[in-house]
């Protein structure tokens, strides 16, 4: 990773439930999420969540992705094409309640459809549900509204807010859209060229350039 080493320490943000990650394309937002999820291994640095160290180059710690309990929703949803919506959602389920998650995201009618027949917004919701079913300690959302029509975006956003409210899962929310940021983030990190250049409460994010 071209990033400078930095320590992403979410412990202090425990009271913060949605951490926004803001920056233009190419600034390393997706790479950062991938590193947190365990898909990508950084050259140097540390990643800690609460008391858990997920990665530490100094101490040679690198927890594999499957043990990190971090839900990852990539930019293009990446639903398994050979499974139905239900198959995708139940893939990593830890005996959780498929019903309530499907309910919150209004997926009940879609469950048995093949994922190739879903719209962009529907795919995103299924992908979110899939990640939630693993009962993660944190959810990473990479530009979840990027593949959704402008006019549908206001429909999807409430779902994400519901997750925060009803399931109490901390989110890291990546976007390059300031308006989204304003509606959803409690706190924002700004990325530029692989470096964090600012850490702001969302209120002043609109003033960023």
């Amino acid at each position: 990773m071209r990033q400078d080493a930095f320590t992403l320490d979410v412990r202090d943000e425990a009271s913060v439930e949605v951490l926004g990650l803001f920056g233009p394309s190419g600034s390393g937002k997706t790479s950062l999420l991938e590193a947190i999820a365990g898909i990508r291994t950084p050259d140097r640095g540390e990643i800690r969540i609460g008391e858990r160290t997920l990665f530490s180059s100094a101490h040679r710690i690198n927890l594999p992705a499957r043990e990190r309990r971090i839900g990852y929703v990539p930019q293009d949803a990446l639903l398994f094409p050979h499974l139905s919506a239900r198959g995708n959602i139940e893939y990593g389920a830890r005996g959780g309640d498929c019903g309530s998650v499907a309910n919150i995201l209004h997926l009940d009618g879609l469950l048995d459809r093949r994922v190739t027949t879903l719209s962009g917004g529907e795919k995103q919701r299924v992908a979110i549900a899939r990640a939630l079913m693993t009962q993660p300690s944190m959810l990473l959302l990479d530009e979840p509204l990027a593949g959704v029509d402008r006019d549908r975006r206001d429909v999807i956003l409430p779902y994400i807010l519901r997750i925060r409210r009803e399931l109490q899962v901390p989110l890291i929310y990546v976007t390059h859209d300031r308006l989204e940021l304003a509606s959803i983030a409690d706190r924002t990190l700004v990325l530029s060229d692989g470096k964090i250049v600012a850490s702001e409460p969302a209120a002043s994010a609109a003033a960023l350039d």
Partner: protein, 222 residues
């Protein structure tokens, strides 16, 4: 088509099917390793795997003859256990397996390389271990390529001659496959019967290639 010809055709298809089924698990394992793993000596490993593809089949047959004969430890162990390989239908299956193995492994490799690694990564974030990912994500998504490999291996096995005649011989009713049958019938002057076997071989070959192409074609629609 005489009873003898029908019997030869049926025997060959049966042996080729068995050989393909038996060769698929190791070919999938090797294909997966070649597609997804890097390790020192990988190029050498690849060459070894491809060996039966470039060696003349009779040469592979000679190696097998030594391996299962009395002068090798494997042959002696089998002898002691009372297991006969040379000049039996088992030798037919083994010859077919060895010759078709590189073809199937290479097809499996190509099929798996086509699977977007990101699916496997996502599955890992969802808590799946490597074996579960292989079973529930990689292989299902590579299924068409693997199936095409199986069909290719099957058609190669159907036509296998050099190695077969070395370790299985041309025993009528016991180890005479279509290809071996054609050769033997010409040798004893029964060319008309040989042409019948040729026609059957051609039909089976056409069918197999057609099926293989259909499997590979529709992959773009996924």
């Amino acid at each position: 088509m005489s009873a003898e010809t029908w019997a030869i055709a049926r025997f060959t298809v049966l042996m080729a099917t068995l050989a393909t089924l038996l060769v698929l698990p190791p070919a999938i394992a090797v294909g997966w390793v070649l597609a997804r793993k890097a390790f020192p000596g990988k190029a050498l490993f690849e060459t070894l795997v491809s060996l039966p593809l470039v060696l003349p089949p009779v040469a592979s047959g000679l190696l097998l003859l030594w391996l299962f004969g009395r002068r090798s430890p494997v042959g002696q162990a089998l002898d002691a256990a009372g297991i006969e390989i040379i000049f039996t239908w088992k030798a037919v299956v083994i010859a077919m397996m060895v010759i078709s193995f590189p073809l199937v492994a290479r097809s499996v490799r190509a099929g798996i390389e086509q699977v977007d690694r990101r699916y496997e990564q996502i599955a890992a974030t969802l808590g799946a271990g490597p074996f579960r990912i292989l079973r529930t994500v990689t292989l299902p998504l590579a299924a068409r390529g693997i199936a095409a490999g199986g069909v290719l291996g099957f058609s190669r096995a159907l036509g296998e001659f050099g190695a077969t005649i070395m370790i299985a011989g041309a025993i009528p009713g016991q180890t005479r496959t279509l290809a071996v049958g054609i050769y033997t019938l010409v040798e004893v002057g029964r060319e008309d019967d040989a042409w019948v076997l040729l026609a059957i071989s051609a039909l089976l070959a056409f069918g197999a290639i057609y099926l293989s192409n259909r499997l590979l074609d529709r992959r773009g629609a996924l």
